[in-house]
């Protein structure tokens, strides 16, 4: 994938994610509605490919206002990934035609890879995760399962042991997928299943979409390194 295609795809996918997130806030409070309506409007030129640099700058200002409004991210990791993508796109536009642009997109690809590796590494270091107990506890009492019936999964330790190891091996092994385009396609298919499961079981829908929005950077990065 060329740099220009990856950049444009990331812009479009991020704008679609922001529209989805913003729509969810339009049912909220007046100050939230104003902020996120503005955010939604700023996504339109980005989608159309018109004045994208200005649209990105505007979205960055809105993102900082939202950070102030909620005194941090509204939705934890997914908001952090949203900000990371946004800032990398800002830098890529500011440094258009220079090495800075490629560096910004490469940084996004590296951070996306690290999001899996570091997460897998810290789980592997925890004996509760290695024994499958951590996931049992997640289902037993954490705030994430979307229904009471899902709490019943805590009574299926063998299944959760297998799921724990599946997640950890996928996460720490993810960098290997950068070695070949086919491996990357397989790695990202696994990643999509992982995010889909998180979205369905734990209601983390924003993670699903925003992580997908960073994928074009990874396709470009893989081709740049090993193409």
């Amino acid at each position: 994938m060329s740099f220009e295609t990856a950049l444009r795809l990331t812009e479009v996918m991020m704008a679609l994610c922001f529209l989805q997130q913003s729509a969810e806030h339009l049912a909220g409070y007046r100050d939230e509605r104003r902020l996120f309506a503005l955010r939604g409007l700023l996504c339109l030129p980005l989608l159309a490919g018109v004045a994208t640099g200005w649209a990105l700058a505007g979205l960055t200002v809105v993102a900082l206002c939202a950070l102030h409004r909620f005194q941090g991210p509204y939705n934890g990791g997914s908001d952090r990934m949203s900000l990371l993508i946004l800032c990398c796109l800002d830098l890529a536009h500011l440094g258009a035609g220079t090495a800075l642009a490629e560096t910004a997109l490469a940084y996004l690809a590296v951070q996306l890879t690290l999001s899996y590796v570091v997460s897998g590494q810290v789980k592997l270091a925890n004996p509760d995760w290695r024994r499958g107990r951590a996931l049992v506890e997640v289902f037993r009492f954490s705030a994430y399962p979307v229904s009471e019936s899902l709490r019943g999964w805590a009574g299926r330790p063998r299944l959760l042991f297998a799921m724990s190891w599946g997640v950890m091996l996928f996460e720490v092994g993810f960098p290997l997928s950068l070695l070949h385009p086919v491996a990357l396609a397989i790695g990202l298919a696994l990643a999509a299943s992982f995010h889909l499961a998180n979205a369905c079981l734990f209601g983390l829908n924003r993670f699903f979409w925003i992580w997908l929005a960073a994928w074009p950077a990874l396709f470009w990065f893989q081709a740049r390194l090993f193409g």
Binding site: P73, C87, Q111, S119
Partner: protein
């Protein structure tokens, strides 16, 4: 501005340590009170999750999930308050509880208290620890307490 940039920094250099450990998990409970001095005997869990959710509903939430995302924000507020109670987190919880009461039960006037209960699994059973009980808070809308963000007075 420096404060906001401080909030931005973890997004630019993220730690990505998702689910490193399963920490005690917060629940928000509330009670309506008849006067400022009343300490309620019974508390109601805020935003209880549904008993069941069909697979189609789960998939639908991929596209539209504002209620659950707001619930996760309230979990963040509760976790922030466990570290350091602030007027901002208190107000975010209050106004969302108040809206829930107005929309669900038609209650729009009076006072409420909320408490934060952290649940953990220890010694083979679930244990609950109350770590914060709010003062009496009005259900009616009120502006955010500006104190945490107010500029320092000029000398």
């Amino acid at each position: 501005m420096l404060h906001v940039l401080g909030l931005l920094a973890p997004a630019l250099m993220p730690s990505w340590r998702f689910f490193r450990e399963v920490a005690p998990s917060p629940r928000i409970e509330y009670a309506l009170v008849s006067g400022p001095a009343e300490m309620p005997a019974r508390w109601t869990e805020a935003r209880p999750r549904p008993a069941r959710l069909r697979p189609l509903a789960m998939l639908g939430r991929l596209f539209w999930n504002p209620g659950w995302n707001e619930t996760l924000f309230l979990v963040s507020c509760a976790e922030r308050m466990a570290e350091r109670p602030t007027a901002h987190s208190t107000e975010e919880i209050r106004k969302r509880l108040a809206r829930g009461l107005a929309e669900g039960e038609g209650v729009t006037e009076g006072l409420l208290r909320f408490r934060l209960v952290f649940v953990e699994h220890r010694g083979g059973r679930l244990r609950r620890h109350v770590i914060h009980v709010s003062g009496p808070l009005p259900l009616e809308p009120r502006p955010l307490d500006p104190r945490p963000f107010a500029p320092r007075p000029r000398r």
